[in-house]
């Protein structure tokens, strides 16, 4: 076998890298779970001022299906010119990521980014829409 030392050294490095995550998390299962599991922050001035803290849909629905909702909103607002969601808490809301969602959730880094980073989801919303 040619270059025995080089090959064995690289194999050792490769295995070290491969098993590093296992080593890193060893014995820290509970701590890591609590520490990393993302918890989007809902504490923004706009939300704190609300009489009833509510989104346009129930929390569980928003957590699971906000992407489908935004996809549908986009087509409704752009293609069908149907931009009004309705009145919540005395305020009329329009279908708009930038003006409606981000008005309340003005903490993009603590709200959007936390989960998106955790699940390695790269959205291109902010290429065009201006983040608060």
């Amino acid at each position: 076998m040619y270059d025995k030392t080089k090959i064995i050294a690289l194999i050792v490095i490769f295995l070290a890298l491969l098993f590093y995550p296992v080593y890193y998390n060893l014995g820290k299962a509970e701590e890591r779970k609590l520490g990393i599991m993302p918890e989007p922050s809902l504490e923004t001035p706009a939300i704190q001022q609300m009489k009833v803290r509510q989104c346009v849909k129930p929390r569980q629905y928003m957590r699971e299906s906000h992407m489908q909702l935004l996809d549908r909103w986009r087509d409704l607002a752009l293609r069908d010119n149907d931009r009004e969601i309705g009145v919540i808490d005395g305020v009329r809301y329009e279908r708009s990521l930038q003006n409606t969602c981000m008005h309340c959730h003005s903490n993009k880094r603590e709200f959007c980014d936390r989960c998106h980073i955790y699940s390695d989801v790269r959205v291109y919303c902010w290429d065009c829409h201006i983040a608060p």
Partner: protein
């Protein structure tokens, strides 16, 4: 440049090792640093909180625009509208004309109405600047050309863009006979001075154009250029004979851009009777009587009616043929 298999595998291997520290891993090992390096969000006018302004959305069966060319006498008059448009929609400004992005641009007579120079057009009209923008055609060639459906005609006649679907192929730019579309060759955000935070920007690699301020119409506001023009630009429902724009066009002589192509443009340029600056006309003025037929009816009435019929027919065609 050629590359052999051995070098290719080496590069691929090194890239894989370097690339292992991806998005998630990066945040895990160095929390908070990932977004510290991304540029700060652009500054500009703060977005107003959502509220019930008590305004009703402006609607129409067929939106159209009347540009009163009699009131546009210097390039600054058009620039006023163009600036308002740029501010409202975060349109970037480039020094290089080949990269420039414009929803509404200042154009010469020849650029606006090519082929009309041999008609009975006065010198005063030829010397004037014109506001050139998307004509929101009744039969838009850009919609036919778009392979992804990113550009489409709404029921109210507005030719709109869905930038999410635009793949930047620029077929629409080739199809548009008015040069109304611009392509973003680079990130437009670096070339926007002041941001309107209520409206998105575009991104590199998409085509953009005038939207007739559909987002403003929805809030009950008139388009930005109409507000900035000080009465020189009118928008309204041309399908309604009693609307402001219909009466305006019935009373004045207007021309449209490249009508011979059959795109049924929705932007009318009022050129006569020239009551605003009659002294500027070096050749005899358009006689008001000359726009009337022997039976005393306005020629306009006779011409507009069949046009509407054509528009209906062309709509029917595009629905059948388009999808």
């Amino acid at each position: 440049m050629t590359i052999n298999r051995r070098d290719f595998l080496k590069i691929a291997g090194i890239s894989a090792v370097l690339g292992f520290g991806e998005f998630t891993a990066y945040e895990l090992l160095r929390p908070g640093e990932l977004f510290a390096k991304t540029p700060a969000p652009p500054k500009g006018t703060a977005a107003a909180p959502p509220q019930d302004a008590g305004l009703r959305a402006l609607t129409a069966n067929r939106w159209a625009m009347a540009v009163d060319a009699r009131k546009f006498n210097s390039p600054e008059d058009v620039q006023k509208c163009s600036d308002a448009c740029k501010r409202t929609h975060n349109v970037p400004t480039f020094d290089d004309a080949r990269r420039d992005v414009n929803w509404l641009r200042t154009a010469t007579f020849d650029q606006t109405f090519p082929g009309l120079t041999d008609d009975r057009i006065t010198d005063a009209l030829i010397k004037k600047p014109y506001a050139a923008l998307c004509n929101h055609c009744g039969d838009p060639p850009c919609v036919r050309a778009c392979p992804t459906g990113a550009t489409f005609k709404r029921k109210d006649g507005i030719v709109a863009m869905d930038y999410h679907r635009c793949i930047g192929c620029r077929m629409c730019m080739a199809a548009c006979p008015y040069g109304a579309r611009s392509f973003n060759f680079s990130d437009p955000r670096e070339h926007i001075k002041e941001f309107n935070r209520e409206f998105p920007t575009r991104t590199k690699g998409v085509v953009e154009k005038c939207t007739f301020c559909s987002e403003r119409l929805q809030k009950g506001l008139l388009p930005a250029c109409v507000e900035a023009s000080g009465g020189a630009v009118t928008v309204g429902d041309i399908a309604d004979p009693k609307s402001e724009i219909s009466t305006l066009l019935a009373a004045n002589y207007s021309i449209r851009r490249r009508l011979e192509l059959g795109t049924e443009p929705g932007v009318y340029y009022i050129i006569a009777p020239d009551t605003v600056n009659p002294a500027e006309n070096s050749t005899p003025n358009f006689d008001k009587n000359s726009t009337r037929n022997s039976d005393g009816k306005s020629r306009k009435e006779n011409v507009v009616a069949p046009r509407r019929e054509e528009r209906k027919n062309s709509d029917g065609k595009s629905k059948k043929g388009g999808k």
